[in-house]
Symmetry: C2
Subunit: 303 residues, 2 copies
């Protein structure tokens, strides 16, 4: 990279990716973008980005290339497939994946790209669309620390807590660990709210009573008000939570980690999807318990 601002590429302009790419653009970096659907590309091109027509074309033009894609096979295809990053790769390119995928896939992609001179960082994020827009994401980074230091100025416009966890894949392991706790809080909140409702205690009073003590957590701080208002719209979509828990389950199987509560939580999200609620917020998993208990959190949930 020269002393001028490096040229950045961003592939995958979904809810998260578009907001993150925009923050990079706003910070003054030249930006090349690529996305399967056109609307987000057009938006960013109007704001000053340049379009490229394949991942290979992005890779050939940039110093640092970001991706933000739905799942492990998408990343593998965009990185290593036909017209993929690997076909436009050049020596010294730094590849940063902001997707949440399997640690094993992150390692596979990094190893293949190493062969063509590319340094890879797995850098999944937490903090949702609000964090993405406001540049306050938590970023968990696996890969060579010196590569992280070189791209840190760009990370600083995306997030506020950037932690180097370890070798390639460990950023994804940290994200999976994060999702174990997030899911546990969501399911526990659902269970305790239905418990309170059926035991004859006002769930709103119960939340008020317990949220300041040892039960305190991000989920109890943020989600109950939305549920009490009958708002189950995302936020973080349940099918993405289910996908992330599938990564947890697969990875636990791979490494021989006996998980109990996390497996139950994964099944609750799988049930939620089968019941047709996958597009709702991850806190709307309470709907599974409402059905199973024959009891609504509020009289007329405006789901």
């Amino acid at each position: 990279m020269s002393s001028q601002n490096p040229v950045i590429g961003y592939i995958g302009l979904g809810l998260m990716g578009k907001a993150m790419a925009r923050n990079i653009l706003k910070a003054g970096y030249p930006l090349v973008v690529h996305n399967r659907s056109r609307a987000a590309v057009n938006e960013l091109v109007e704001e000053g980005a340049v379009e490229a027509h394949s991942p290979a074309q992005v890779a050939s033009q940039v110093d640092v290339l970001f991706t933000n894609l739905p799942d492990s096979p998408d990343v593998e295809s965009v990185a290593l497939g036909k017209e993929g990053i690997i076909e436009g790769a050049h020596d010294g390119l730094i590849y940063v994946d902001n997707s949440t995928i399997k640690p094993a896939t992150a390692r596979k992609v990094a190893e293949a790209l190493t062969e063509v001179g590319v340094i890879s960082l797995d850098a999944p994020v937490s903090g949702g669309d609000i964090g993405a827009r406001e540049g306050t994401l938590t970023i968990m980074v696996g890969g060579p620390e010196e590569a992280l230091e070189r791209v840190r100025p760009i990370f600083d416009v995306l997030g506020k807590a950037i932690t180097h966890v370890g070798d390639c894949g460990t950023g994804q392991s940290a994200k999976a660990a994060n999702q174990i706790m997030v899911a546990a809080q969501m399911i526990a909140m659902s269970e305790l709210l239905i418990f309170a409702r059926k035991a004859g205690a006002d769930p709103q009073k119960v939340i008020q009573a317990i949220r300041g003590g040892a039960a305190q957590c991000w989920t109890l701080d943020v989600k109950p008000e939305r549920l009490f208002e009958g708002n189950r719209q995302p936020g973080f979509k349940a099918y993405m939570q289910a996908k992330d828990l599938a990564i947890v389950v697969d990875t636990a199987q791979e490494y021989g980690v006996p998980l109990f509560s996390a497996l139950v939580d994964a099944q609750m999200y799988n049930a939620m999807l089968e019941m047709g609620m996958g597009e709702l917020d991850n806190s709307a998993v309470i709907g599974v318990l409402e059905t199973l208990s024959g009891s609504k959190l509020i009289e007329e949930a405006q789901v």
Copy 2:
């Protein structure tokens, strides 16, 4: 109660009860105490309390009577048994139970005491021995709100967050709800730490990376450092956590609440007890997963 300070009774001077009784004494209230074992009684008598030789004797001398006992049968026996509170009860006595017991037992005791003119409040607490000593407990109150208002000045020396949840028993329901979330955080922390360890990520780095995001909770704020130092001493003893989860399970059965994750968490604590770790801190439940995974959190856990 006269305009002078009311006379207070406190029965059950364990780790929590003794600290709470002491705060009442320090605030200038005349205090009558009773306890099965003598040491704690002697301590408080030296500090100015008066001893009584049965719950009935305490009840006959005081305006407000607190209990803090291990489990539901203990409360039922001290309140309604031979030489129990009911035998010394008088019209206008306010009875406050700080124990964590079944909501059903709280209601049974309150109904029996109503017959002899006693008003009952179930007022379980959260915040541990530190909260008890420092007077910063979270207190969840069920029972008549006007009775709570009359004793609120005393509650104010015990805790900082005092919430009236609803009718008799709902304080206990709120505490059970609280324990669903606390247990979920403890088990999720254990699972994610072992997951990180086995997936080749440094557990300390993972905690550092995730604790500021959506996974943030009291448990991740407080417990990992102790575990990384090899310290598994209580804190809040695991057998008490197991007892509280048994209340959750019993009460869920009584009210027809289908719980999934909370039942798994309860089983993890039951296993912990059977494995001989019941006297350790509730965060030491990670020991169950260490055994099942053949993997230690730290090289030489100084358990």
